[in-house]
Structure formats: C-alpha cells, structure tokens
Symmetry: C2
Subunit: 118 residues, 2 copies
C-alpha cells in the first residue's frame, strides 16, 4: 500500500464519513473551505480509484465513488505495515503496547480478550 497525500486524505475522510457513494460534484461541495476546481476533485478521485482506495459505479453520466475499505481497516493495515518494517515484530509489538495510553491499552486488552473467547 502507499500513503496518501493531503488532499487525498481529506477526500477519503469525506467519503469514509458518508454511507452512500458520492459524485465528484458532491464531494467538491463538501470541501467547502478550499476553493478547488471541479477537475481537481475529479483527478484526485480518479487517482484514488486507480490506487484501489475507491470503487466507482456509473450513475447516468456521472460516477459515484465509495471507499473500498473502512477507515479502520485502512488504519489497521498501516499499523501492520509499520510493524513489517522491523525484523523483530514481537519487540515492536511489546514496545507499542507499552506506549499506548492507559485507556487505549484497556481497549486493546478488551478486544484481545473477546478474540480469545471466540
């Protein structure tokens, strides 16, 4: 996988927050703070599709874009990728566990416990 740029991430955030596929125009309208040309949004949507982050389906003349995976899945994958960078995965995992804050350690613990019970 590859990382995302600034605008790419912004657009993914918009699509992740949506539960229905959006057209380029609709996405553009949701980036209100920046005054981007419509073609800019289309180009980025196109690149994201090419990279596999989005899927698109026809809707008349327009395309509707939807995320290929949930944000959580994406984040989890990024984390695993970081983990792959090391020779000693267990050391890195241990280190990670020690680094997360208390409440988050609790969340992890709980998730792991539930895993075990299944």
């Amino acid at each position: 996988m590859k990382g995302l740029g600034e605008l790419e991430r912004t657009i993914m955030d918009i699509l992740w927050a949506q539960n229905a596929p959006l057209t380029a125009r609709e996405v553009g309208r949701l980036i209100a703070d920046r005054d981007l040309a419509p073609t800019t949004v289309m180009t980025v949507l196109d690149r994201l599709t090419r990279k596999g982050f989005l899927t698109r389906t026809r809707d008349g003349r327009a395309w509707r874009y939807a995320p290929g995976a949930s944000r959580d899945a994406y984040v989890a994958e990024l984390m695993l990728e970081a983990l792959d960078m090391t020779g000693d995965r267990s050391a890195a995992l241990t280190r990670f566990a020690q680094t997360v804050s208390g409440p988050e350690a609790e969340i992890l613990r709980k998730a792991l416990t539930e895993l075990e019970e299944e």
Copy 2:
C-alpha cells in the same frame, strides 16, 4: 515524523543493527550490494541527521553516526501515527487487535498484562 525512503531505511537498518557509531565510510562498506558513491552515503546520513533520526559526534575529521532511537521505538511511533489518522481511535485499535495473527495477539496480551501489574 516523516516516513523514510528506500536508501534511508537501508542505512537506518545498518545503524540499528550496530551497537557502536559508524562513520560514513563504514556504512558505505556495509552496503556492499549497491555500488554507491561515498558522497551519496554522506548525503543520506546528513539528511537523516537533519531529520532527527541520527545523532553524530566528531571523530577526528570524520563524523560517527548513531541512531537517535531504537527501531522498535520508531516502529511504535509509526503505528501510533497511523492511529492518529482516524477520528475513532478505539475502533481502529479494536480492528488492529482483530487483525494481528494469533501468536502476535498473544505477545500483545502478555505485554499488556505486564503493564497492568506494574
């Protein structure tokens, strides 16, 4: 923090594997497979230092480079950074916990348990 490029990562790997600071020449000699100009290695070492990944101390005319942090710390930080990308950290954490393989879940569980006992 920022990610590292290909050669940058290679060099960090070399330095992480060492327990004593190395000079540019020594690092270059350890990248035997690629035939790099000495200045290339120096440039990259310099950039890594500028980025805060390395510290360097004088040794005669030469510099000796050493990692600023352990690889595990780096990986853990990358993972936390990925985690920061999401609005819902707990969901991403849960997802992550579900995604790691069985043995690694065990490692995480153990690390978290030890944390709790302190």
